[in-house]
Symmetry: C2
Subunit: 498 residues, 2 copies
């Protein structure tokens, strides 16, 4: 009888993840292919299917399976699926249905209000929506519960195991090191010349080069595809259908090339999850931070390295415009690694990127904690940007309104980006103890690098929690020293300071 | 209270059609964009969602709404939706659940077995599957019931109101006329020279011309898109997202150009259904035959007409290769209208097309009626092709295995193609009483033609039954004389006989 209940439980999870795949495809389609007039109708369909997923997650049927099977199953996949299902059940069931519905409606309204407000640099028109979103998230955090800081309850959604206590210890340390490094690069006598990268680089040539690199990374085009979008993303519909999108800027190839490799890193993760996890809630990245460690590993530790360009610069030149043909690698490599404090997170270089994240973390933590209010955000944002990066937005479009996250109610998400970067540095160090990463990068042979990541990270999906993955690989928890040491080594060499 | 039940009924229909839209998008994606390795997982998801639709259609909840609301609602849309829901309920509920599941499994297996058998010209490997499909369809027809011929029960699924009795009266008459016409064209002294159409016509140029024609027809690219597939189709996800696909043959532009216009005719129908019918089962073409009348009207009555090319030949030449630049219209127009008995239905010309349909109709009618058996099909097929068209397949790939329909269990579908053609001729005659069709075609101004079709056909969706639409427009039922007279007039002129 337990066998039958188990089978029915797994069937229900399969139904749930089938809706998930359909929702994923609709989302991909809306951003890449769907005709604009069809969007309204499609949103309604998305609403119906999302509601269905929510109903399953909080159903009496699901509760019944959990109660009956808990502590009563041998199969580890079923065991972990039960844990995931129970956590989702508890989390969802704690929010009153009426509030959940209001919140979903608010989210979709807020996102379009944000887009308009950003366009017009008009924070005030978005403020009332953001206030409500913050209010709901405060309430939800209280429903869910936490030990020390209300914000911990939100962090848990994206990076289970990481708390305010951890971040407040790690982030200031990293900030201090990065700020110091930044100053050193700015004062260095040797400065890269990014103007050498200028010139018209046709979209199709960028696409051909990007596709070639994706193939070399081991991205399987028979289980994926590459399309163009305004906001690049990777999405796993199932492990055999993981799609990447990218954005082309004909004036700056870096957007597409590094962007595609970044999304390719996410996609490799999803393509290489153990097929046995298919149609369970485990067939997904284990956390936002671990996901980001994969994309950032490929984007920065591989594709922005000197060895990578030693090997791939000749290939690059086959697709690149005339102006690159006589540009020596010694000028090209520093140029693609220029450090320059800037206003926009997604355009930031490797060194300043984490500082952007810290601005956001401190503000959202204080918002959720009730220490600041939404109306204070623009000024606080600008002040922090000036303090940490030395640049000050001239308007809210390039300031507090630049990111979509808050408009969807995603508080607690931003730290994942910085955590992912630190994880990537820790993985990078561990990998180098086992294989000769530099040599493989210089040979343009990524098979063993990809295999190492699959073996240690990808295959597990959600079978292991993020800090367990980290610990199994490195023997320690979150440790920012590896990132600081990597960045320091890299920029000392490029900027020639000691 | 009735108001509340009505709302809940319409909500359930909305849920059902939301799954329908998701299923439609997945189907489109599988044929156009999906990576090949993802197909298996996707098929499972399709299975889950199709099962969901089936559950809703046959649910106690649905039965309850039907019983409570029937004869008890004022809104005509709700009224017709009730009728549709009840018909679907009755039809589906009459099949035992076990048999339905077996049949669904059989269908998907049979389709892949058919593809393999066709590839290898091996009817025997497909025969056992086809035998089972026929057996199920015989049983289903008996469950559903019929007055005179068991095949009527299947015909009803595609063309309600049309029966064996009607077809057995109409088809032989048409066959006689077409055979006679065919003989006249073959014996005529004037013969078109199709070799003038030969030459390499690049895909992208064909696409540009096809898109331009679609736009002129009034196809809204903001509510649709054009992609490439092996088997062209049009699919309406919602009225604001109706997609067209086409196939390019660089050696023969006719495949893509006439194919795109054909699918464009289907798409115009779906784009112009009254938006008030959205999320009901009425937001769809009223029958396969009426749908086909729209595609064939545009493909044949418009795009294969002399007036069309008088206007569009100059535009065509802008995209066409060198060899067309000195080819006079007087040679081009007869060439694209060459009549030639051939083996493959989808490559048939306007005159012989219906003869292909009749071969299929007679065989499937006899199969379902139990007068012939599956094992006899190949020989009977070849014999009928020889009798009606004077050509004999050399293998089953170009004979009985050429079409996908039977492998999906779609018996009763084929007659819709011929009916659609006759309907189109009837609509064409009726339209000409109200607007100067020839003049508009020659001017390349299709606005009024499209409006006429929207007003008389498109807008209603399933609000009107097919024969009601026909009768409201023409004042009569199915009448093949218009088609015969149209073809006779056309070919007399091209082949110059009297």
């Amino acid at each position: 009888m337990t066998q039958t209940t188990q089978q029915r439980f797994m069937d229900l999870l399969k139904e749930q993840s089938s809706y998930g795949e359909a929702i994923g495809l609709m989302a991909w389609d809306m951003r890449t292919k769907a005709p604009k007039k069809g969007i309204d109708g499609r949103s309604e369909v998305l609403g119906v299917l999302s509601q269905k997923v929510h109903e399953i997650q909080t159903s009496q049927e699901m509760r019944g399976y959990i109660d009956e099977l808990k502590g009563n199953v041998a199969d580890p996949i079923v065991q972990r699926s039960l844990e995931e299902a129970e956590e989702t059940y508890e989390k969802t069931a704690k929010i009153p249905t009426r509030e959940y519905r209001e919140y979903v409606t608010l989210q979709s309204k807020a996102e379009s209000m944000w887009a308009e407000a950003k366009e017009k640099n008009d924070f005030e028109s978005f403020r009332p929506y953001l206030e409500k979103l913050v209010e709901y998230n405060r309430k939800f955090a209280d429903y869910w519960g936490y030990d020390e800081h209300r914000y911990d309850a939100l962090l848990h959604n994206y990076e289970p195991g990481v708390t305010v206590k951890v971040l407040d210890e790690v982030f200031p340390k990293v900030r201090k090191a990065l700020t110091h490094l930044l100053q050193q690069t700015q004062e260095a006598a040797t400065q890269p010349d990014p103007s050498v990268l200028e010139g018209h680089f046709p979209k199709d040539k960028q696409a051909q080069f990007s596709e070639e690199i994706l193939k070399r990374m081991g991205y399987d085009f028979d289980a994926g595809r590459l399309d163009e979008t305004v906001h690049p993303f990777a999405i796993g519909l199932n492990t055999n259908d993981v799609r990447v999108t990218t954005k082309y800027d004909e004036k700056d190839f870096r957007t597409a090339v590094f962007g595609t490799i970044h999304e390719g890193g996410h996609a490799l993760y999803e393509q290489n999850i153990d097929p046995k996890l298919a149609f369970t809630p485990l067939a997904d990245g284990t956390s936002m931070g671990i996901h980001e460690s994969q994309s950032l590993f490929w984007e920065n530790f591989v594709a922005r390295s000197e060895g990578f360009w030693k090997n791939h610069y000749e290939l690059f030149k086959k697709f690149a415009p005339e102006s690159f043909q006589d540009l020596p690698l010694e000028k090209f490599y520093p140029a693609v690694n220029e450090v320059k404090p800037s206003l926009i997170r997604i355009e930031a270089d490797e060194l300043t990127y984490c500082l952007h994240i810290m601005v956001r973390y401190e503000l959202e933590k204080a918002l959720i904690g009730g220490e600041i209010e939404v109306k204070d955000l623009p000024e606080l944002w600008n002040q922090k940007m000036e303090d940490y990066l030395g640049v000050r937005p001239q308007n809210d479009g390039e300031g507090v309104l630049q990111d979509i996250h808050w408009s969807g109610g995603d508080f607690g998400y931003f730290p994942s980006y910085a955590l992912g970067y630190m994880y990537a540095a820790q993985l990078n160090t561990a990998m180098r103890k086992e294989i000769d990463v530099d040599q493989f990068i210089e040979m343009g042979d990524f098979k063993q690098i990809k295999s190492w990541l699959t073996e240690n990270v990808h295959q597990y999906g959600k079978m292991k929690k993020p800090l367990q993955i980290l610990n199994d690989i490195t023997g320690e928890g979150l440790n920012p020293d590896y990132l600081v040491s990597y960045l320091s080594g890299k920029y000392k060499k490029i900027y020639n300071f000691s």
